[in-house]
Amino acid sequence: MKNHKLNYAVLLLILALSIIFFVGQGYIKIPFKTTFDMILGEITNNSLKEQNLKFWYTIFEVRLPRVLISGVCGAGLAFCGLIFQSVLLNPLADPYILGVSSGASFGSALAIMFNLNFLGLFTTSFFAFLFSIISLVLTMAISFIDKSINKTSLILAGIIVNSFFSAGLSFIKYIAGDEVGTIVFWLMGSFSSRSWNDLLWVSLTFFPLLVITYFFTEKMNILSLGDRNAATLGINTTRLRVVLLTLASIISSIIVSRSGIIGFVGLVVPHICRFIWGSDNKKLIFYSPLIGALLMCYADNFIRLVLPAEIPIGILTSLIGAPFFAFIMRRKMRRS
């Protein structure tokens, strides 16, 4: 357990092998070796498209984007959960605590109800993203008191913004007619029929921000000593909070806008990682996304391959996540 670089490599390898395996599974079965060769061929610019057109389309147009995006979204949510928990010093924080999810829900419901499509297929996602950013700005503005932001005011402001947009969402559901079904399905989250474009957007946001955040991990650790102590160790706590929360909220906004609301991954994964590898954010910042990706990948493929009918993934993660979280919470409360 001591050699962390080796651990990252092993987890990454497991993830890669799982992805290749899952891509081969489904109605059309593709052998592992063939899948591997075809993906390798595509990467090395030596496409095997002509050899087996049916397999090629199944892999590259249908399955791979979905499997990859579930992985990246899982990684992103786990990463955001870690940031929110460390920055708010609250082990119960999740990526949606600042109102990002209810903002996104409201935005998407608005787009669906009015049948907006000036951006084509991306209109709903665009509105979801727009409103999640609006909710983030609102939360920050409400919690900004006396030129500083503290964790309690942030959490309370998040609750305020959350309930405001939830009311808006309920109102839309109430007055919407036939669109209610679409809205509800969108809200529960799904990775079915995702394209390379979705993957590109999420990856282009997530990976660069992950690298930037790496340079803040030392300060994130110090923040857990409390504001006063952190300040005497040379940390501008308000600035650090605003920077990190903005980074994380942008990631969670873009994920929510592409996949709907998938609960509990962002909450539970950082806990699992902290339990196994300790509290050092410098390490958790890699472990959390890796475990998040693995978990989401397996959950989504469980839905796709094992269940007789496809259900929204948000239902599955919450169904498994809630009892698991109850277990962690009880264990934690008993100790302290």
Partner: protein, 260 residues
Amino acid sequence: MVIEMRNVGYSINGHEILKNISLCLQRGRFYGVLGPNGAGKSTMIDILCGINRHYSGEVFIEGKDVKLTTPRELSRIISMVPQNFYINFPFSVKEVLMMGRHPHKKTFTPYTHKDYEVVENIYNAFGFEKFEKTSVMEMSGGEKQRVFFAKALVQETPIIVLDEATSNLDIYYTHKLLSVMKQQVLSAKKTVISVFHDINTALCYCDDFIFIKDGTVTATGNMEQTMNKENLRGLYNMDFKIITQNHRAVSILPNQEEAE
């Protein structure tokens, strides 16, 4: 002069917490800050440490205006041991001590050999080996406080502020850790500023005293200048009995006879 405060004031919602505080503190001395609850002691500490920057007046630390000094720069000059701790994640003792080296670390570069050496020395000197497998979260209040004393030393600052830092410690560790601090004052010419509630503990270590009440300094100076019945009555609204030995106050007790 290591610290200079000129007409420092601070108020919240029109309520004055500190008014017109002017003080000069010298290098290589142990200062004891005494005063009743709510006198403004912690506010003064926050201002000295650069945590509270919304004060009026001027504060200079080693000749630098605090308002113009970044938290990072300040953290290399002044360190603090707090009264309460809040640590919600299971960090190990060593990880917390390592955080004390953060002010000296350059961004984008890892900790140096020297950083590890400083932490290792203090870790061993404080006897934290037996907490190797324990997280700071699971430690008792007094044990945590020892970790924060160690953290302040790891920080290697010329000024150390103790904000009622011995409040959770038993009598053995209170004197042990304050002796360590006194040693820092005597040998390394550091300046220690400590808030006390126990006058007798303060008498053992302090060279100078600062009495604060209702946001103002009511008395300041060495033991003879400050420790008399009048000053103490003014400070705490009660009568005291001062026991002296060779013209030096060794113990200060409540005077129950006069109270009756």
